[in-house]
């Protein structure tokens, strides 16, 4: 069966350290992966997109990697801050027609001062 999994339900990290979140998928051939941030009581907000032919993408303190052999994307936040505390969702776009995004369950990140 097809699955998209974010391995950690919750991750605690000390301020200033690099947070690394994992997204794995099974039986998909994604055209691309996206990462979203969701704060309590709010809708998800788009952060980054990485395509199947890209290895790495950066935006300010954020870095995303995409390994189609391992079927995995890693999401890094460097020099993490308490304001980075949120739930982070990965989503993939199956490589078939106009199929909408499929989302993982999310990882709740807490950055401790």
């Amino acid at each position: 069966s097809q699955k998209i999994e974010q391995n950690s339900e919750a991750l605690n990290i000390q301020e200033g350290k690099t947070a690394t979140l994992t997204c794995n998928y099974t039986n998909y051939s994604p055209a691309y992966l996206q990462w979203y941030r969701q704060d309590p009581g709010r809708g998800p907000v788009f952060l980054l997109l990485i395509r199947e032919n890209e290895k790495e993408k950066r935006k300010e303190r954020l870095k995303v990697t995409f390994d189609t052999t391992l079927k995995q994307s890693l999401f890094h936040i460097t020099a993490s801050q308490p304001a980075d505390s949120a739930t982070y969702l990965c989503a993939l776009r199956p490589n078939s027609g106009n199929t909408p995004l499929v989302f993982g369950k999310g990882t709740r990140l807490s950055v401790i001062a």
Binding site: A31, Y32, Q34, Y36, G41, R42, G43, P44, V45, F46, L47, L49, L89, A91, R93, G97, N98, T99, P100, L101, V102, F103, G104, K105, G106
Partner: protein, 114 residues
């Protein structure tokens, strides 16, 4: 969120009653989506639309119907609400099916079926 509004924000309804949730956008985007978010399940697609009067089912479409008579409005109807439909419902929009800018989500509707 800017350009997309969901109403109502909260609703409590009784089992067996019909309920309609509204999503309104001012971005003139072609694609609109309804997801539900539940603990332990994440976001799951209910229905989506790729144009006026063009809709398709998602992963969890049973018990739901949608309509899109105008570009800016996408309605989600629970035909006869059940307790299992208690959830947070999110509408999202995108310019195209493969948008580099991702989806823009509304703030959600918290629905409780008692």
């Amino acid at each position: 969120d800017a350009g997309i509004t969901q109403s109502p924000r909260h609703k409590v309804t009784e089992t067996g009653t019909p309920v309609t949730l509204r999503c309104h956008q001012t971005e003139n985007h072609r694609y609109m989506y309804w997801y539900r978010q539940d603990p332990g399940h994440g976001l799951r697609l209910i229905h989506y639309s790729y144009g006026v009067k063009d809709t398709d089912k998602g992963e969890v479409s049973d018990g739901y119907s949608v309509s899109r008579s105008k570009t800016e409005d996408f309605l989600l109807t629970l035909e006869s609400a059940t307790s299992s439909q208690t959830s947070v419902y999110f509408c999202a929009i995108s310019e195209s099916s493969g948008s580099d800018n991702g989806y823009t989500f509304g703030s959600g509707t918290r629905l409780t079926v008692v």
